[in-house]
């Protein structure tokens, strides 16, 4: 008994370390005031209910060991930044005034080097301002880091910070094609988003590697401290096969399967989208061939030529749509997939730690049992007793370390889980939004093209076609379009307007190509086509990708 006492200053009757690890409400009661007060500070952004839940579950997880947290935090507290030690398992989160911050603004993207390097390894240029003590300066301008370096940092962080879901890097390139302006914008914006996510995580920004990363020269960064994943390779695979340890935190217990399904489904979705896109490309080929055949149908017939050209142009727009589908949703899903994978693995790591903890608990229990046995005996070798006590001490200590670690992880993950879900939702939404906007834009352009040739056919045969259906109303003028500034002619809703400015729709990438021999139209369109030319060229170059 005497051996156990020093470790349990707040010992009360039931909290016998030798007792069975059972659900016990009293220690929670004793600790709730302390931990809840700290929690209130630490997660002001979170909803109160959620955090309370988190704490209670954390406490129940602590159970018998709850009271030991103080002593164990003394050791871990050394590494941490002079925070009040007894307050928290997660001192970083209790930073009331958001004292430390890292602000990054991505200003540019450079691609150079070999063809592969250009694509896979762009250089990101960003400005940075911070008040973190790990940094030597407060302001950094025009920091250049290659994607490879980012990747190194990410790998390190992911292994070193087991408490967090470290955000994965966005893809280094998009489906827009690396030469296009859209790609530049997109990648830059994605990195900005990444930095935003990273700097929101106090655990990450406090990591000194972040400072090393930013302060190192271009293309020289490698992680200085070494970190290793808990288990990797075959061992990890084998460990994953084991039954998942019981998880008291239902949120996290349910989170992993969810994330995993998201991961799997997103992958499938990506695949399907790829298939759609590919099929669309096939269709484009056929549409182009069809249009071409129309052009060839009669050498002397201008109408067929024009119609064929329009059909070809419509096909080309379809091809752009295929690219846009990929660039918006496919790439969006790509990030989701990467992220879900990391989240999933982080949760797996937690399982490993849980399993380790269980082992440590069993170990320390065995040692205590041994110690008790010694005590009941008379003829004991004092050497043996010392040995046993030492073993008991180390076992208990490692158990405490693990317990604290698990607490930290659990607590942090519960918080991050919400953030991650919000991010996921927001990201999917944005991807779909972008997807839809692009769709609308190009479908509208298609419509514009189609309506342009309409009057030609009408002119060719006044009495034919739809006029038989009483559609004399179709005007002969060339300006007959259903999409105007006032809205769409076919809908009844007047107040509804497209999100895309009308002049963007009414001029397509193929205008100059279509009207090369048609003077009447070019003169009228020339001002905008010239503006569009570069855009068109980039799009054209990319659509064949």
């Amino acid at each position: 008994m005497a051996s156990a006492v020093p470790y349990d200053p707040y010992d009360d009757l039931d909290n016998n370390p030798f007792a069975e690890p059972q659900e016990d409400s009293e220690p929670i009661a004793t600790n709730t005031d302390g931990s809840s007060s700290m929690v209130k500070e630490q997660i002001n952004a979170e909803e109160a209910i959620g955090s309370d839940q988190a704490i209670s579950t954390v406490n129940s997880a602590q159970n018998e060991n709850a009271t030991q947290s103080k002593t164990s935090s003394e050791q871990s507290g050394n590494k941490q930044l002079a925070q009040p030690l007894e307050r928290d398992v997660l001192p970083e989160r209790s930073d009331e005034k958001k004292k430390y911050s890292l602000l990054v603004k991505v200003v540019g993207l450079e691609r150079f080097g070999s063809t592969a390097g250009k694509k896979e390894n762009p250089t990101i240029v960003f400005d940075c301002s911070t008040n973190l003590p790990t940094f030597r300066k407060q302001q950094y301008k025009n920091v250049k880091k290659s994607y490879e370096e980012f990747n190194q940092l990410f790998k390190y962080l992911n292994a070193a910070i087991q408490e967090s879901f470290v955000p994965t890097l966005p893809p280094a390139f998009t489906t827009f094609g690396i030469n296009s302006e859209e790609d530049r914008i997109k990648v830059t914006r994605n990195f900005q988003l990444w930095f935003n996510r990273v700097s929101r995580d106090p655990l990450i920004i406090r990591n000194e590697e972040v400072a090393f990363f930013i302060e190192s020269d271009f293309n020289t960064y490698t992680p200085i401290s070494k970190s290793k994943l808990l288990a990797s390779g075959l061992k990890r695979k084998t460990l994953k096969q084991l039954a998942i340890p019981y998880d008291e935190v239902t949120e996290l217990a349910e989170f992993r399967p969810l994330v995993k399904s998201i991961y799997v489904v997103s992958q499938n979705l990506q695949e399907k989208l790829l298939k759609v896109s590919r099929n669309r490309r096939m269709m484009v080929q056929e549409e182009n061939a069809f249009g071409q055949d129309f052009v060839n149908l009669d050498d002397h017939n201008k109408l067929y030529k024009r119609y064929g050209k329009i059909l070809t142009a419509v096909g080309d727009i379809d091809s752009i749509i295929a690219t846009m589908d990929m660039a918006t949703l496919y790439d969006g899903l790509e990030w989701v997939i990467r992220d879900t994978y990391v989240v999933k693995e982080a949760l797996t790591n937690r399982h490993f730690i849980m399993r380790n903890l269980i082992q440590a608990q069993q170990n320390s229990k065995a040692k205590q049992e041994q110690a008790r046995r010694f005590r009941s005996r008379r003829d004991i070798n004092p050497m043996k007793i010392d040995e046993a006590l030492r073993q008991l001490k180390t076992a208990t200590k490692s158990e405490q370390v693990l317990t604290l670690k698990l607490q930290r992880i659990t607590l942090n993950m519960v918080i991050e889980r919400k953030q991650w879900l919000t991010w996921y939702e927001e990201w999917i939404r944005n991807s779909i939004k972008e997807f839809t906007l692009r769709k609308i834009e190009y479908e509208r352009k298609k419509l514009t093209l189609l309506e342009r040739v309409r009057s030609d056919i009408r002119k060719a045969d006044e009495n034919g076609g739809l006029s038989r259906l009483g559609r004399h109303a179709v005007s002969v003028s060339n300006t007959d379009t259903s999409q105007t500034v006032k809205g769409d002619s076919w809908t009844g809703e007047n107040n509804r307007k497209s999100q895309i400015p009308i002049n963007k729709i009414t001029h397509t990438e193929f205008d100059d190509e279509l009207f090369t021999e048609d003077d009447g139209c070019t003169s009228q369109d020339s001002d905008t086509t010239s503006l569009n030319a570069r855009h068109a060229a980039s799009l054209l170059g990319m659509s064949t990708k």
Binding site: L258, S261, I262, V265, S266, N268, L269, K272, L273, K275, V276, N279, R280, M282, M283, Q285, E286, E287, A289, F290, D293, F294, N296, L297, D298, Y307, V314, L421, Y424, E425, I428, R429, I432, K433, T436, L437, K439, I440, E443, R444, L447, L450, E451, R454, I457, A460, D461, G464, G465, L466, R468, L469, G470, S482, D488, W490, T491, R496, S498, Q499
Partner: protein, 680 residues
């Protein structure tokens, strides 16, 4: 009296429909191919006198048509009055005798037991309908044997009942017929044997009726035309308004109403421009339907039979219904080709041996054959072709068709696969007797083949087209055909790829739904579900537009290509005739020189014989030459018309498919916009 009401009401209502027929006959101001009936002379003055009343009568009759069919008893007398009135116009003295006649019918009906009445009444009506004795026999049999044909018997009754009334009125006039009619009615028996007696009479009467009106039209053509023209203009507008936008198949011929419109508009045009071609015949209203494909036969002889229904004043009985198989349509094509040299015959669908029992194939074929018949119907020359009429009416088609093919030497029975291949019938070319002679010797070109075995190096005479119009056009047609085929191919490819896009879109949307079902959060799931829905709609829209495309562009291209084969056929006809011409010229020259050699011995037997041969060949030569020249002229004409027609059709097709594309594009934008507005 409820019962009687039920019986009477529809009857009187139908009467109006019957009255409509004359009206539609009137609408054909250019009725020309109608034979005058025997009573023509007698009625002529009377009718021309009563021109105006007749018109009135028609106007009156139109209005009841709109009335509810379930008219009350109170309504009936009114109609009766009208009916009587119209009768009065035709035969003043008959009013009194007519009324008793009506009563007697009613009495009989009442007296008969209820069970009997329904049945026998129907049968009696049958006797009245009697449009075609043959069909009629069929229906009688079927009513007796199976209940399934009830619907048909009803339709028979509809047209039949008023007919009886009409007939009976007439019958009184020419009192000799009363006997048979009355006997039938009073006996109320389902006596089929009597039908043949009455039928011809009624037929004749029908014709009379019909012709009366058409006579009027001739008499006062200008006047009526104006009226009918405006009436039809109105009708056209109505029809146009009623027409669904995209239900309209490629060509006007595909729907009956548009056929009417077209012919009418043609008439209008002609009237306006004071037609320079008075000789051009006008197409008589002619409606054909191909319906109800049924698989018949056992293993080896299995084939699909289609029901062909024809309705036209040109037909003896105005209405005909026969069963025909694909082969018969080929026969018709060949036969028409043979009968009308230098004319582009609407082609039947291509042969296809594999998968010819699939549902959509059959439907497609049915559609193509229907449009073929419809086009034939519209052509003033072709619609009166006796082989076409035989095709529509013959009951024993398989043997009759063979006989016809033999008689005309068209070779329609040994049909080649290629629509553009042709056979020139010697019978058609040279006349029956000479052709028999020629055929006995193995064809016109047999002479040149003679001795072919002995002197193998005597080259066959070759025909060189002298008129470059033909060579040029032929080349052009070939080119066009190639291009169109390519176009058709790529359209098909577009179609397949579009369909595969649609199916992958569906998979995609399913996957989105799966993602939504993970239920990450409420708004997220909703968003994803809606997203999936949009994709589903896009998918169905894709499928629809693909179907649309095949229905418009695809069908049109297909038809175009087949028509080109038909065009090539007429070029081939010319070439073949030209070839014959060369052969004959050769022979003629040979005989001529032979004759010259024998010239000293004018009275020798040999000389006389050679002279005779020479004369025959000369005659053949002349005949062929005129035919050759004629066909050349006709082809030029026909080709011009054909290209104009086809180009117009093609443009229509383009426009319709463009409009369809625009509409589906709008739909697509709308879907996305709505999704955007509500979800993002």
């Amino acid at each position: 009296m409820d019962y009687e009401e039920n019986l009477e009401a529809p009857v009187w209502d139908e009467l109006n429909h019957e009255e409509d027929n004359p009206q539609s006959a009137i609408s054909n101001p250019t009725e020309s191919g109608v034979q005058l009936p025997f009573q023509e002379g007698k009625r002529k003055e009377e009718l021309s006198k009563k021109k105006a009343p007749l018109n009135n009568e028609i106007n009156i009759d139109i209005s009841p048509e709109w009335k509810d069919p379930g008219l009350s008893v109170a309504g009936n007398p009114l109609m009766e009055e009208q009916q009587q009135g119209s009768e009065e116009l035709k035969a003043n003295a008959l009013i009194n005798s007519l009324a008793p006649e009506q009563d007697s019918i009613a009495d009989i009906k009442n007296n008969a037991s209820q069970f009997l009445v329904t049945k026998d009444f129907g049968d009696a009506l049958f006797t009245g309908s009697a449009n075609s004795p043959l069909v009629f026999d069929d229906t009688i049999c079927s009513t007796n044997t199976s209940a399934s044909t009830n619907s048909r018997s009803i339709s028979g009754r509809r047209s039949g009942k008023p007919q009886i009334l009409f007939d009976s009125a007439r019958a009184q006039r020419s009192s000799k017929r009363i006997y048979s009619l009355k006997a039938k009615k009073t006996s109320n028996s389902n006596d089929a044997t009597k039908l043949p007696f009455t039928d011809p009479l009624k037929k004749a009467e029908k014709e009379n009726e019909f012709v009366e009106e058409s006579l009027d039209n001739k008499n006062e053509r200008g006047e009526i035309n104006e009226g009918t023209v405006t009436a039809f203009a109105k009708k056209n507008i109505l029809e146009q308004v009623d027409k669904p936008l995209y239900n309209i198949p490629q060509r006007g011929e595909n729907s009956v109403s548009s056929t009417n419109i077209e012919t009418n508009s043609k008439k209008v045009e002609e009237l306006k421009t004071d037609s320079k071609l008075p000789s051009t015949e006008h197409a008589v209203d002619f409606n054909v339907e191909v319906t109800n494909p049924v698989k018949v036969g056992e293993l080896t002889s299995i084939h699909v039979e289609y029901t062909v229904i024809g309705k036209s004043p040109l037909l003896e009985l105005k209405y005909t219904q026969v069963n025909r198989r694909y082969r018969d349509f080929r026969w018709l094509y060949r036969q028409l080709q043979n009968n009308h040299w230098g004319k582009v015959i609407p082609p039947p669908p291509e042969k296809q041996s594999v998968g010819s029992f699939k549902q959509d194939f059959i439907e497609n074929r049915r559609f193509q054959m229907e449009s073929m018949l419809k086009k034939i119907c519209q052509d003033p020359a072709l619609q009166k072709d006796q082989d076409f009429l035989l095709f529509l009416t013959s009951d024993d088609f398989s043997s009759e068709s063979k006989r016809r093919a033999f008689l005309t030497g068209s070779g329609a029975i040994n049909d080649s696969n290629d629509l553009s291949e042709i056979r020139i019938s010697e019978i058609q070319l040279l006349g029956t007797e000479d052709a028999a002679d020629v055929l006995r010797n193995g064809g016109i070109d047999a002479e040149s083949h003679k001795g072919f075995m002995n002197i193998s190096f005597s080259s066959l005479p070759k025909y060189n087209e002298i008129d470059e119009f033909f060579t040029e056009k032929k080349q052009k047609v070939d080119e066009l055909e190639d291009n169109l085929k390519k176009l058709g191919k790529s359209l098909e490819m577009v179609d397949t790829s579009r369909n595969s896009l649609a199916s992958s879109t569906e998979e995609f949307s399913d996957m989105i739904e799966t993602l939504a079902s993970l239920n990450v959060s409420e708004p997220n799931s909703e968003l994803l579900n809606n997203f999936a829905d949009v994709h589903k709609s896009i998918k169905s829209s894709l499928e629809r537009s693909s179907l649309q495309e095949t229905l418009t562009m695809g069908v049109m291209l297909d038809d175009y290509i087949r028509s080109l084969a038909s065009v090539k056929a007429i070029f081939n006809q010319r070439a073949k005739l030209g070839y014959f011409l060369v052969v004959l010229e050769n022979d003629m020259n040979k005989k001529h020189s032979q004759l010259g050699k024998l010239g000293q011995n004018v009275h020798s037997e040999k000389f006389i014989e050679t002279k005779k041969e020479f004369l025959t060949i000369e005659r053949r030569y002349k005949l062929t030459k005129t035919q050759w020249q004629e066909i050349g002229e006709r082809i030029k004409d026909e080709f011009q018309n054909f290209s104009i027609d086809k180009i117009r059709e093609f443009r229509n097709g383009m426009e319709i498919s463009l409009e369809a594309a625009i509409e589906s594009q709008k739909e697509c934008i709308e879907l996305w916009e709505t999704f955007y507005q509500t979800n993002l």
